[in-house]
Amino acid sequence: MTTPTHTVVCPECHRSFEVDAGMRETLLKAGCAVCGAPIVDADLTVE
């Protein structure tokens, strides 16, 4: 991972982890890696 830019907190499973820009884009398309729930911008906070 390059420098993390955001922290994501899944709205359904509540797991949180840091992501970089590339991972953020993928999360918004693919959903939470842990539980599969949709992820939206509101679930991400800027580092």
Binding site: M1, C13, V19, T26, K29, A30, G31, A33, V34, G36
Partner: protein
Amino acid sequence: MTTSSEVEMSASAVDAFLGRHETGVLSLARDDSPYAIPVSYGYDEASREAFLRLVSAADGEKRAFLASDPEARLVVHDEAERVYTSAIAVGTLERVDPETLTAETIAQYGETRRPLFEMWADGKPDLDIELYRLAPERLTGRKITVETE
């Protein structure tokens, strides 16, 4: 009279078969105790790896079998019009730490069928949901066609 033909599947046929399916049976063992559960999985044909989300309840027995990167066997099979097809992946089941996720693995888990969370009484925040990867040391498939004359 019934005849059958059995064919060892090619690597590409095994990949296609595993890519078409999303569920199978995961077998683990600890000492002399076996453990097998139905699972959903995602399969990456390029790396020939299977990706799984495994869910444990706090008092479940699954955790004991998942400790320390266990040896595992994933079996996927189907039957259609007298053709019986199966694939078996044997290898080490490695836990994937969410802190080590990459865009590629996030995308892979996005393609992986989610577990049936509804079967647990607890909500997702209270479940132990862990990510795993099975990179098979052996990956084989077999197709048996039964014909009745």
